[in-house]
């Protein structure tokens, strides 16, 4: 067993003792008992030994080729055939090579024996565990006479497809996914204007404004890489915090939290009033310009200066530069937009800024993404009568994504048991206890369930409160279906196992197959092997399956150019400055600014954000990554810290209306005086996460559960906190 720390260490110790004994008695001529020879002598490794697959640590799914020797993963190297990741693997992707070997993995099914959250478990066989899940789900359906009394919770991932299929076959409306914690207002805002959510052509752009997009830490391929490799001529970063993206920017504008809409509206004001917009483009492609022109008059740069604390002159300068570089200029859409109450409107305004300068579907501007279509093995969903009429939170959100739901209103409805009780929870690859604001409420919701089953690879904080935990094989130990990654350069990828499962784990696909039997479904949507499924997915493309196996990627030859107008899927078939659809829903047809709540003296706005070493709440406990950052720290402005008598590394308490956390202070000039921040994913509840349990603070614990009603997105920058010193 290579890399077995204990045996290896013992071996080394005995060798040390032996060598000293030799020294004592023999005096000389001691044989060398241990040495790691230089690698090239050890290995007869050749390029043929690579196994191609894709990284599973974050949403980007970069192409990797696994260097495997003797059944052991040495390294995951970048896949040069994979254009989207531009031949790189990030720190997390690299550390992924050791994920299967983590001591903290879930190694077999677990059944709770103590109270929920008491961390008392017994080992179970798959048979027993699957049986238990089936029986409990059946029981809940019977008891509440409602198949939607079982909620299904998941986040994107290749295998999620099977989980969603299972939920559909099960007959519950209540599939609750991650978008309303992430980007739903972004999608909503951009789609309202363009009819789709475009990508930015970072590679070819000359001028980029990032507003709340920390692209050099929140890695999005290929944008993050293009940004540094080819790079725009000028990069402006608008962020209350001096991020690493800001460190690389030409200008950093520390905006007041939640006021970006004022900035965007002022840009529109300048573009229109200074005649900087692209008249021809606007005339040909847009709807409602005249209305917008009138509407925008009150949003002067001088007005925006008061809101944003960025000077009117600066706003004018940025806008003029933006127009000068158009259409190769991008007001970057960003990804996570669970920010502040104006968010959905902000995203609309941002889309409009891009549209006004004609930076749409042109090289260096925003570009409509393309996607390679894949087949599915269809199944006939059964209509069950014992079901509710609709999703639990139906009607609470103006533009509710039926297939994803809206997390916070959903959770509120579960707790109120209205309009109907939801009493069982199936979780796949999501960690809502940490990723949904207000951790106490999520735990309360879980405790209100009759039954909770979590499918994960480690004892996440969510698994910690489960009744049955089903361990999935890691992404390196399983087949995953083909997946079409949309973008300016679309492609298809998949996963194949690079090693055999190390423990008694299964893939989600196998688990769903098992549950199909124990849940007494009237249909079997998984009547095939996963390889058959993948072959079916790509059967329309010749050589695609082989290309996946041998190169980890498939790209059809005849993909059309991404540039050029391809029409707009809006109601008016134009870019909509004025939205009738919004009006009919009782919303503003054009974005209207609502003043943000003042930050009272002695309080701070709490903000969240990514870190390049971690994926959300799931890699902080990983070997190697944890070594780079072992705890999170509170970013606090130097001036404010001085007033509070807080020095670097002092222990401080951060307290909101819903919770508190204790962590070390990082006193810095790199954040606004009225804002604080710390990295996500520490301060875990779960004792199974040995490196983060009780270390640092949890965001979900202190975040208040605000949300906005247009897209249903959570709002993570609306929480006010107090900071006090605990000790030096």
């Amino acid at each position: 067993m290579p890399y077995n720390k204990i045996t290896r260490r013992k071996f080394l110790k005995s060798s040390a003792i032996a060598s000293s004994l030799f020294l004592a008695f023999a005096g000389a001529g001691i044989p060398v008992l241990f040495s790691d020879e230089p690698k090239e002598q050890l290995s007869n490794f050749s390029a043929n030994n690579y196994i191609y697959t894709s990284c599973g640590i974050c949403v980007n799914k970069c192409g990797v080729k696994a260097h495997v020797e003797g059944g052991h993963i040495i390294r995951l190297e970048p896949n040069p055939h994979f254009p989207k990741s531009r031949g790189m693997v990030c720190a997390r992707g690299n550390a992924g090579a050791r994920l299967p070997y983590s001591a903290d993995r879930l190694k077999f099914p677990l059944i709770r024996v103590g109270e929920r959250g008491e961390n008392k478990w017994r080992k179970a066989s798959w048979e027993e565990a699957l049986q238990m899940v089936g029986e409990n789900l059946n029981k809940v359906v019977e008891k509440y006479e409602n198949r939607s009394a079982v909620m299904f919770v998941s986040t994107e991932g290749f295998q999620e497809e099977f989980f969603k299929t299972f939920a559909e076959a099960f007959g519950s409306y209540n599939l609750l996914r991650h978008p309303t914690l992430c980007l739903s207002s972004n999608i909503q805002g951009f789609s309202a204007v363009f009819g789709n959510y475009p990508d930015a052509d970072v590679k070819n752009a000359k001028y980029i404004i990032f507003t709340g997009s920390n692209r050099l830490e929140a890695l999005i391929t290929p944008d993050s890489i293009d940004l540094m490799k080819t790079g725009p001529k000028k990069l402006v970063v608008i962020d209350p915090r001096f991020t690493k993206t800001a460190a690389k920017a030409n200008e950093w504008l520390p905006i007041k939290v939640g006021t970006d809409l004022a900035f965007a509206l002022a840009m529109i004001h300048v573009l229109i009033n200074e005649n900087l917009y692209n008249k021809q483009f606007v005339e040909e492609n847009t709807f409602g310009f005249e209305e917008l022109k009138i509407h925008i008059q009150k949003y002067t740069p001088e007005w925006a200066e008061i809101e944003t604390e960025i000077s009117a002159d600066k706003i004018r300068q940025i806008t003029r530069e933006f127009a000068e570089n158009a259409p190769k200029s991008v007001y970057y859409p960003g990804r996570r937009s669970s920010f502040s109450k104006n968010d959905a409107e902000l995203r609309r305004a941002m889309a409009m800024v891009n549209a006004l300068v004609g930076a749409y579907n042109v090289e260096g501007g925003l570009v409509q993404t393309q996607k390679i279509k894949l087949n599915k093995i269809e199944f006939e969903p059964v209509w069950y009568d014992n079901n509710a009429d609709d999703r639990l939170e139906a009607g609470k959100v103006k533009f509710l994504a039926e297939s994803s739901g809206a997390w916070i209103p959903f959770r509120n409805a579960v707790l109120e048991e209205k309009p109907y009780p939801v009493k069982a929870m199936m979780v796949y690859k999501q960690n809502p206890v940490e990723s949904v604001p207000n951790r106490k409420k999520t735990i309360q919701m879980m405790k209100s369930m009759d039954f909770v089953c979590v499918i994960d690879i480690e004892m996440s904080d969510t698994a910690y409160y489960a009744d049955v935990i089903l361990p999935e094989s890691t992404y390196l130990e399983r087949w995953d279906p083909a997946h079409s990654l949309s973008g300016i350069e679309p492609l298809v990828t998949f996963r194949q196992p690079v090693i055999q499962p190390l423990h008694d784990t299964k893939s989600c696909f196998e688990i769903m197959q098992g549950l199909t039997k124990t849940c007494n479904l009237e249909t079997n949507p998984f009547d095939y092997t996963i390889q058959e499924y993948i072959q079916k997915q790509v059967e329309d493309y010749e050589g695609a399956y082989e290309s996946l196996l041998n190169k980890g990627v498939y790209i059809p030859k005849n993909i059309p150019s991404p540039y050029g107008n391809r029409g707009f899927k809006t109601q008016t078939k134009k870019i909509e400055f004025y939205s009738d659809k919004y009006k009919r829903k009782g919303l503003n047809p054009m974005p209207v600014y609502e003043t943000v709540t003042e930050i009272p003296e002695g309080k701070f706005k709490f903000t969240v954000g990514r870190h390049a070493f971690f994926t959300h709440s799931s890699t902080q406990n990983m070997d190697y990554l944890n070594t780079i950052m072992k705890e999170n720290v509170l970013w606090l402005n130097t001036e404010k810290a001085k007033n509070l008598g807080i020095k670097n590394n002092d222990l401080v308490k951060v307290k909101s209306s819903v919770g508190e956390g204790i962590l070390k202070a990082f006193v810095t000039q790199g954040i606004r005086t009225d804002t604080v921040f710390f990295v996500h994913g520490f301060g875990s509840k779960s004792k199974g996460l040995t490196k983060t349990h009780g270390i640092g603070a949890s965001e979900a614990e202190i975040l208040e559960d605000h949300w906005e009603p247009i897209s249903g997105n959570a709002l993570m920058h609306e929480t006010l906190v107090e900071v006090t010193k605990v000790r030096s």
Binding site: R9, K13, A16, I17, S19, S20, G27, G29, I30
Partner: protein, 370 residues
């Protein structure tokens, strides 16, 4: 208090602690049982090694001064001094043997693939030579072949001075803080200081326990110690002043770790007070009738250990990567020796006493004045 029995008990206790250190080191491995880091790879052991080697060198020099210049006060004790010199040298080897992961490889590869550029190689070679010479000298002294012994002594002194100066050079090629022409002579003076202090202690012990009349030798030892401390004082003062006033950042910062940084107690209390001021004060009040010189020597030996320690550690406390330098006071590296590291040195002391006690018996030197 300083009865033979008590001294032996204490020595055995020290040696026992040393054995614990050995077990700890071998069982847990060096990475775990030593508090050494990537940036401070040399710690207490290196300080202890240099400390013991310096005592050995000092004793050998003093013994040989006696021979060469026919100074009766030293000459009459030279056999004792040489024996003690051999024992402290082995104590030094013990300490370094614990420190090195593969001491035997040193022997093998120093022979089959030597690096003549390396002061470390020269150190090994010169000290091996020096060991042979010392043992031979002792042998001939024992055989009463004084002439031969005298010649060997002379070669020994030469080897010794070269070896010890090389030890100074070993440091000076490696780090800016350690560099400078002063290091080799600094090492020699320090050696004489150490030798003199140890001599005063041992001769006093020999005088009381073996009922010998060694007043004149002890008196000479006292004087030598006082002179050596005086010279050392001037050395240190000028070195610190020049480092603090007009030198490269590495050297300046190194000096600052001692003058005002994390080593300030080690420096002001250990090195300056215990190592210099207190011994000088005591020595000025000492006479043939009181034991103050022994206390002065003990204090000086303590102080000299701090001197070694500070020297080795201060050279490493300044991080070598530039970018740390912004706020150096916060960023001086830290080092606190572990139990096992301290215990090794304690063990070395215990070993020295025990070995001397039995060797003296074995060679029937108790009543002897050569």
């Amino acid at each position: 208090m300083f009865t033979k029995k008590n001294m032996l008990y204490i020595s055995f206790f020290f040696a026992f602690i040393g054995i614990l250190a050995v077990i700890d080191t071998l069982y847990f491995g060096r990475e775990e049982s030593f508090n050494l880091t990537r940036q401070i790879p040399w710690g207490m052991h290196i300080a202890g090694y240099v400390f013991f080697v310096a005592i050995s060198t000092g004793l050998c020099l003093i013994a040989s001064i006696g021979h060469v210049f026919h100074l009766k006060e030293f000459e009459q004790m030279s056999k004792h001094l040489i024996l003690l010199s051999i024992i402290t040298l082995f104590a030094a080897f013990f300490v370094i043997g614990i420190e090195l992961e593969y001491p035997t490889r040193l022997i093998i590869y120093a022979i089959i693939s030597p690096n003549l550029q390396s002061p470390m190689w020269w150190m090994g070679t010169l000290y091996s030579l020096y060991t042979v010479l010392l043992v031979a000298e002792f042998y001939f002294l024992q055989q009463k072949k004084f002439k031969l012994a005298g010649i060997l002594g002379l070669i020994g002194v030469a080897a010794d001075i070269i070896a010890h100066a090389n030890l100074g050079a070993l440091f000076s090629v490696a780090r800016p803080f350690w560099s400078g022409a002063f290091l080799p002579p600094y090492f020699i003076v320090l050696a004489i200081q150490s030798g003199a202090a140890v001599m005063v202690i041992f001769l006093t012990l020999i005088q009381t326990h073996n009922k010998l009349q060694l007043t004149s030798s002890i008196r000479a030892g006292r004087r030598l110690l006082a002179i050596a401390i005086g010279v050392m004082f001037l050395f240190q003062a000028s070195r610190m002043m020049s480092s603090a006033i007009m030198s490269a950042p590495d050297v300046y910062n190194g000096a600052m770790t001692m003058l005002a940084g994390p080593l300030k107690w080690h420096f002001w209390i250990g090195e300056v007070f215990l190592g210099m001021l207190l011994p000088l004060g005591l020595l000025s009040k000492s006479s043939d009738e009181n034991n103050l010189a022994v206390y002065a020597s003990c204090s000086a030996i303590f102080g000299m250990f701090f001197m070694r320690f500070n020297h080795v550690i201060a050279g490493q406390m300044v991080p070598v990567r530039d970018y740390y330098k912004l706020e150096l006071v916060d960023n001086f590296l830290q080092y606190t020796p572990s139990f096992s590291e301290i215990a090794t040195i304690v063990g070395g002391l215990g070993f020295t006493f025990i070995a001397y006690y039995y060797a003296e018996k074995y060679f029937k030197m108790e009543r002897e004045i050569s």
